[in-house]
C-alpha cells in the first residue's frame, strides 16, 4: 500500500497566495496563514496537558526552515511532493493541480527569490547553478548560504500581558492612526487577521479537547481534557490569568509563529507561576507536570539544535519570581530524565541567587548535559561591544539554537552562511583550487611553493577568507532585502520592538536591530594546521611545500612518519603559547573582518559564531587530509573546543587556552568540556573551583558533560580521541589511553552509572 498524502491544504494555501499575488504582502500572508492554520495543527496526544502539535505542510509559510531542508518563508518541499505524486498516493483529483503547484513555487519560494537575486560576485562562490535540494552540506563548498530566519524571540511578556484583546486594541489604534495620516494600514490589517487565525486555532483546540473529553472513558483523563478545553477557550478571548493559561498561550504561539526558541521563560512565566502558588490554585507538583508536558512537546516538535529555554541572568524585571520559575525549570529537566531538548540555558552573574547555580551543578553532576552555562559578567559587556547596542539592550541577550547571540524581541540576526575555514586553507595551499574536485573555488593567490615565508601563506589565506566573508555578508543582506519585500512575518512583527510604531515588517526596516551572523567551522583545525606548517615547513624546514602536499594528497599513506611529526606539533588547548597564539591571531582576523562587514552592508551587526552542531562533521567530509595530522574526511574540532584528544594537559590547561580568544568580537562561541564523575560525587568543591576560576578568567560559556560509561567504551575503541581522559589516583601517573587494554576493560567493568 503506498502511503497516502493529502495535498488539499497545500493547494488551498497556493490558491490563496495566487489569488492575493498582487495584494499587499501583509494581506497575502494573512490569507495564506488562514489556510495553514489550524489545518497543520495535529491532535492532542494521550498524556498531553497542553495542546499544540504541528505537522507542517509540504507547502507553507514559516520563518525557520520547517520542515527541515525545505527552505524558509514561503517554502515548498519539492522532494516530498514529487515522491507523493510519483507514488500516486495523492487523491486523483489533486495530481494535476499538484504538478501545477510544484511549477508555480519553483520560482516563487522565498529561497528561489533570493537565489534569483544573486549578483555576479556571489554566483561562482555560492554555487547558485548547482544548488541541490539534497542536504546542502554534502557539497565541498568553502562558503555556503543558509536559508532560514532562525532565532525568533518574540515578546512573550507583551503577548501574555495583553492577551488577544489587548493586542487587537493596540493594532486597531495603530491602524486608525495610520489611516488618519493617510498611510498604508495593510500591515495592521494583516496582523489583525493573523491574530484572528490564532484565536480560531485556540478555539479549534478547545473544541478538539472537548470532543476528546466527551469520548474519554476514564474520569481523570476526561477532567484533564476538559481543563485543556477551558484553558484554550479562555485565552481565545481574554488575557491569560493563570500559569497554565500563560504556558498554553506561549506554547501555541511559539508553534504557530514558527520559532523554535522559547526565550527567557522565567521572565514571562515567573509572575504567573508565583501568583498561582500564592493564591493556592496551583501546587508545585501541578506546575512540574505541566512543564514536563511542555518538555515532551518540545522534544517531539523541535530538532536537536534548537529549542532553547533560557533562565536566569540580568535584566529580569521581577527577579525573585523569575528565580523561582528558573528552579522549577531545572527541576523539570532533572525529573524529565535525559533528553536532547530543550536546551535549557542558564545565564548567571555574580550576585545572582546562589540556589540557581547550585541546582545547575546538581543537574550536571547527575549526568544531564543541561543547563548550558552563560556568564553574564563577560557576555553583557561583550555583546554591548560586539553587537553595538546600549547596556540595557545587551542585558537582553539570548543565545539561539546552536549559540548565536541576538537580542530578545529587539534584535534579529539569523546565521545565513557557513564558512569552512579548513577548506579555505586547503584551497589556499592549491592556488584557490579544490584538490578533490579540481575546481577553482577561490582566488588565485599563488601555489604553496610560491610562498617565500609563512607570512606569504598567511596573507594569501587572509585574502581568500576575506572574499568568502564579503560574499556571505552580501548574501545575508540580500536575504533580508528579498525577505522583507516578500512578507512581513506578521506573527513576528506584531511582537518585535519598533515594528508597530514604524508600520514596517520585521525584515523591511521594522525591527530595532537587524543583524546577522556567519557560522565558521574548522577554526581550530585551521589554526593547528597553520602552526604545523609554520613549524615544519618554514621554521625547521623539515619538509618542502611539495613534500607536505604529497603527504596530504596521499592521506598520509606511506607518510606515517610525516604525519607523526604533524601530530606532534603543538596543538590548541594545552596552554601552549605557540599553538594558542596562532588560534588567537586567526580568531582576531576572522572575527574582526566579519564584524567590519557592517561598514559594507546595512546590517546593524554581522558577527562570527563558533558553535556546536554536526557541521564540523558534515563539512569536513569534503576536506582532504590537513597539516594538523587529521585524515581526509574526518571530523573537524567542534566549536572552540580542541580537536578530539589533542588536549593532553588536563582541564586547567584546556580552560587557560579557551579563555585566550576574545569573546567581545563575535556573537557566541561554544566550549564543550567533560569531567569524570568522581569530581562531582567526591570532589564537588574542586569542581566548583574549576568552574568558578574559568568564569573569573573570562570564560563566557560552558557546556559540561560528565563522563559516563559510554565515553569510556568509546575511549577503548578510539584511544586517540580520548587523550584528555585521565585516570585519577593518588601518586599515580597515567592517562586512560596509556593503560594496558585489560586494565582499561577492568576499569570499565567497575564503572557503573
Amino acid at each position: 500500500m503506498p502511503e497516502t498524502a493529502d495535498l488539499s491544504m497545500e493547494l488551498r494555501f497556493t490558491e490563496a497566495y495566487r489569488r492575493h499575488y498582487h495584494a499587499p504582502i501583509a494581506i497575502r500572508e494573512a490569507m495564506c496563514l488562514r489556510e495553514q492554520f489550524p489545518s497543520v495543527l495535529t491532535a492532542i496526544q494521550p498524556g498531553d496537558l497542553l495542546a499544540g502539535r504541528i505537522q507542517w505542510g509540504l507547502v507553507g509559510f514559516s520563518p525557520h526552515n520547517n520542515p527541515p531542508e525545505s527552505g524558509y518563508g514561503y517554502y515548498c518541499d519539492e522532494r516530498k511532493i514529487i515522491r507523493a505524486l510519483e507514488k500516486s498516493s495523492v487523491p486523483f483529483d489533486q495530481r494535476e493541480r499538484g504538478f501545477d503547484m510544484l511549477h508555480f513555487w519553483k520560482k516563487e519560494t522565498s529561497q528561489a527569490l533570493v537565489e534569483a537575486a544573486f549578483d555576479d560576485r556571489m554566483k561562482p562562490y555560492l554555487f547558485r547553478d548547482e544548488l541541490e535540494p539534497l542536504p546542502f552540506n554534502y557539497k565541498p563548498m568553502v562558503a555556503q548560504p543558509i536559508y532560514r530566519m532562525a532565532g525568533v524571540f518574540v515578546n512573550y511578556t507583551k503577548l501574555l500581558n495583553l492577551g488577544i484583546p489587548g493586542l487587537v486594541e493596540e493594532l486597531q489604534s495603530h491602524q486608525k492612526a495610520a489611516l488618519d495620516n493617510g498611510q498604508d494600514a495593510s500591515l495592521y490589517e494583516g496582523m489583525l487577521i493573523a491574530l484572528q487565525v490564532f484565536a480560531d486555532s485556540c478555539q479549534y483546540y478547545a473544541r478538539h479537547a472537548q470532543e476528546l473529553a466527551d469520548h474519554a472513558a476514564e474520569p481523570a483523563a476526561k477532567a484533564g481534557l476538559q481543563q485543556i478545553s477551558i484553558c484554550l477557550q479562555n485565552i481565545s478571548c481574554q488575557p491569560p490569568e493563570t500559569f497554565r493559561e500563560a504556558l498554553q498561550m506561549s506554547w501555541l504561539y511559539t508553534l504557530m509563529c514558527g520559532t523554535l526558541e522559547m526565550g527567557r521563560m522565567d521572565v514571562y512565566l515567573g509572575d504567573f507561576y508565583v501568583r498561582d502558588l500564592e493564591r493556592g490554585i496551583l501546587t508545585k507538583d501541578d506546575a512540574l507536570a505541566l512543564m514536563r508536558s511542555l518538555w515532551r512537546l518540545i522534544n517531539d516538535q523541535f530538532r536537536e539544535v534548537d529549542g532553547r529555554v533560557i533562565i536566569g541572568g540580568r535584566g529580569r524585571p521581577n527577579e525573585a519570581n523569575a528565580d523561582r520559575f528558573a528552579l522549577l525549570a531545572m527541576e523539570t529537566a532533572r525529573t524529565y530524565g535525559r533528553a536532547i531538548l530543550p536546551q535549557l540555558t542558564l545565564r548567571f552573574y555574580k550576585g545572582m541567587n546562589p540556589l540557581l547555580m547550585e541546582k545547575a551543578t546538581e543537574l550536571i553532576g547527575e549526568g544531564h548535559t543541561y543547563p548550558l552555562l552563560y556568564n553574564d559578567d563577560v557576555l553583557i559587556p561583550s555583546v554591548q561591544f560586539a553587537h553595538d547596542v546600549p547596556l540595557e539592550d545587551a542585558e537582553q541577550y539570548v543565545p539561539l539554537g546552536c549559540g548565536e547571540i541576538v537580542i530578545d524581541h529587539m534584535g534579529f540576526g539569523t546565521p545565513s552562511g557557513a564558512l569552512n575555514m579548513l577548506k579555505a586553507l586547503e584551497i589556499t595551499l592549491h592556488n584557490g583550487r579544490d584538490p578533490i574536485t579540481g575546481k577553482q573555488m577561490g582566488l588565485q593567490t599563488g601555489e604553496f611553493h610560491d610562498f617565500r615565508s609563512f607570512d606569504d601563506l598567511w596573507e594569501a589565506y587572509k585574502e581568500q577568507l576575506r572574499l568568502f566573508i564579503e560574499v556571505l555578508a552580501d548574501h545575508e543582506e540580500l536575504e533580508y532585502v528579498i525577505t522583507g519585500k516578500t512578507a512581513p512575518y506578521l506573527f513576528l512583527s506584531m511582537l518585535y520592538d519598533d515594528c508597530l510604531p514604524r508600520n514596517l515588517g520585521i525584515f523591511d526596516g521594522g525591527v530595532r536591530y537587524l543583524g546577522g551572523s556567519l557560522e565558521s567551522y574548522g577554526n581550530v583545525n585551521a589554526a593547528d594546521s597553520l602552526t604545523a606548517i609554520r613549524q615544519l615547513v618554514y621554521d625547521e624546514k623539515r619538509f618542502t611545500p611539495e613534500q607536505m602536499l604529497q603527504a596530504l594528497h596521499a592521506n598520509f599513506e606511506g607518510f606515517e612518519h610525516e604525519r607523526r611529526m604533524m601530530l606532534d606539533c603543538p596543538k590548541y588547548g594545552n596552554d601552549d603559547p605557540d599553538a594558542d597564539g596562532m588560534l588567537v591571531e586567526l580568531h582576531n582576523f576572522l572575527c574582526n573582518t566579519i564584524r567590519d562587514q557592517r561598514q559594507r552592508t546595512n546590517l546593524h551587526w554581522y558577527l562570527d559564531v563558533i558553535i556546536n552542531n554536526s557541521q564540523n562533521t558534515t563539512l569536513a567530509r569534503w576536506v582532504g587530509a590537513s597539516a594538523d595530522g587529521r585524515k581526509a574526511g574526518m571530523p573537524m574540532a567542534n566549536a572552540n573546543t580542541p580537536s578530539g584528544g589533542s588536549d593532553k594537559k588536563g582541564v586547567t590547561a584546556l580552560l587557560n587556552s579557551v579563555v585566550k580568544p576574545s569573546p567581545a568580537i563575535h556573537a557566541g562561541a561554544v566550549q564543550n568540556i567533560r569531567f569524570g564523575r568522581d569530581l562531582f560525587t567526591n570532589q564537588r568543591e574542586k569542581f566548583d573551583a574549576i568552574l568558578g576560576t574559568y568564569f573569573d578568567k573570562g570564560g563566557c560559556q560552558l557546556m559540561v558533560t560528565v563522563i559516563n560509561r559510554g565515553d569510556l567504551e568509546r575511549a577503548l575503541e578510539q584511544p586517540e580521541a580520548y587523550r584528555d581522559l585521565f585516570v585519577r589516583v593518588g601518586g599515580f601517573s597515567a592517562r586512560f589511553v596509556d593503560l594496558p587494554r585489560d586494565v582499561q576493560v577492568e576499569i570499565l567493568s567497575r564503572t557503573t552509572y
Binding site: 606515517e560 612518519h561 604525519r563 607523526r564 596552554d575 594537559k649 588536563g650 582541564v651 586547567t652 590547561a653 587557560n656 568522581d678 569530581l679 570532589q683 568543591e685 574542586k686 573551583a689 574549576i690 568558578g692 576560576t693 573569573d696 578568567k697 585521565f726 585516570v727 585519577r728 589516583v729 593518588g730 601518586g731 599515580f732 601517573s733 597515567a734 596509556d738 593503560l739 594496558p740 587494554r741 586494565v743 577492568e746 576499569i747 567497575r750
Partner: protein, 299 residues
C-alpha cells in the same frame, strides 16, 4: 637541573585542592607494588608499549646501538645496549615508544607550575613534588620549593622519608604539607618489600612531627603483602602517637600500573594481582578502628 618523568595538571588526589604534580625520576626504594616503576632509575629510559607496535622495524633501523630486536611477532629492547638517545622514538610512527625522563630546570618548570595559579587559589591547591623520590634530588627539589614559596604557591612533598635528616631540615621551611608513606611494619619486612630498612624513615617522621610539620601519612596496602594485623595495628598506633597529623590515608593497591613494568624491561611479578576490592578495604578500616584509631580514611 633535575630529571622528571611527568607533570600532571589538575590532579585531584595528591594533596588539597587542584594541584600540579611534578613527578621526579629516581628512587632509592624499590617497592614491589610500585605503580610508577619508570621512576626507579635516575636515568632516561625507553618504554615500549607492545600493544601499539606494528613490528615495522623502523626503530631498529634508527638505533645506533642495535638495542631493538624486532623479528616475527616479537619486539624487545636490550636495555644493556640502550642509551635512551631517543632516535627510535622519532622513528616510530605508532606511538609505541616513549622516553621516560626529561632533564629540566627550575626555570623551565616554573611557567607550567604557575600557569594554574588561579585554579590553586580558588581551590586551596598548589604544587606537589612526587616521584620517584623527590628527596633524592635534594638540590633540585629545594630550588623548586623555594621558588614556589616565593611565588605564593602551596607546596606538598610526597616522600618515602628515606633521606638524611639534615636534608629534611633544609626543605622543612619550604614545605606546606608532607605526604609521607608508611609502607610496612618491621624493618625486615620493610626491607623485603621496599629494598630498604625502615629506621631512617621512622626517625625522620618523628623529627618532622616534632618540628611541627604538617603531615598526612599515606599507607599503601597490598592484599597478602603488607596487610597483616600487626601492620594495621601499627598504623592505628601511629595515629594515636601523633595526634596532630593531618590525617592517615589508606592507599589500597590498584593494578593500573601493571603494564608499565614490562614496557621498561622489568619483570611483572605482581601480574594477576587485582585491584583491591571494596570489601577488603572496608575490613582494613574496621580493623584499624578496632585498634583504636577512628580517623582513618581512604586516600
Amino acid at each position: 637541573m633535575g630529571i622528571i618523568f611527568d607533570v600532571q595538571r589538575a590532579a585531584l588526589h595528591d594533596g588539597p585542592g587542584l594541584r600540579t604534580v611534578v613527578f621526579l625520576k629516581g628512587c632509592p626504594l624499590c617497592c614491589v607494588w610500585c605503580h610508577n616503576p619508570e621512576s626507579y632509575s635516575f636515568h632516561p629510559q625507553v618504554s615500549l608499549n607492545i600493544e601499539r607496535c606494528r613490528l615495522c622495524g623502523a626503530c631498529a633501523d634508527a638505533c645506533l646501538w642495535q638495542a631493538h630486536i624486532v623479528s616475527v611477532g616479537r619486539h624487545v629492547i636490550n636495555y644493556e645496549l640502550c642509551d635512551a638517545c631517543g632516535a627510535c622514538i622519532d622513528a616510530c610512527n605508532y606511538q609505541a615508544l616513549q622516553i621516560f625522563g626529561q632533564q629540566t630546570t627550575v626555570d623551565e618548570l616554573m611557567p607550567e607550575i604557575l600557569a594554574d595559579l588561579d585554579f590553586y587559589r580558588a581551590s586551596g591547591g598548589g604544587v606537589t613534588f612526587s616521584g620517584g623520590e623527590p628527596m633524592a634530588q635534594l638540590y633540585f627539589t629545594l630550588a623548586l620549593l623555594k621558588r614556589c614559596q616565593d611565588e605564593g604557591v602551596h607546596t606538598c612533598l610526597d616522600t618515602s622519608c628515606y633521606a638524611p635528616q639534615d636534608a629534611f631540615t633544609r626543605v622543612l621551611p619550604y614545605v606546606d604539607l608532607f605526604l609521607i608513606d608508611y609502607k610496612a611494619t618491621g624493618s625486615e619486612l620493610h626491607k623485603q618489600l621496599t629494598g630498604v630498612p625502615n629506621q631512617t624513615i621512622l626517625s625522620n617522621l618523628e623529627y618532622l612531627y616534632q618540628e611541627n610539620a604538617r603531615i598526612i601519612l599515606r599507607c599503601p596496602l597490598v592484599p597478602g603483602l603488607n596487610d597483616q594485623p600487626d601492620h594495621l595495628q601499627a598504623i592505628a598506633q601511629l595515629g594515636i602517637k601523633y595526634p596532630n597529623l593531618q590525617g592517615i590515608e589508606l592507599m589500597p593497591y590498584h593494578n593500573m600500573g601493571s603494564g608499565k613494568r614490562s614496557r621498561i624491561g622489568l619483570p611483572d611479578h605482581l601480574s594477576g594481582l587485582k585491584t583491591t576490592s571494596p570489601d577488603v578495604i572496608e575490613n582494613w578500616l574496621t580493623q584499624i578502628r578496632q585498634y583504636g584509631y577512628d580517623a582513618i580514611r581512604v586516600g
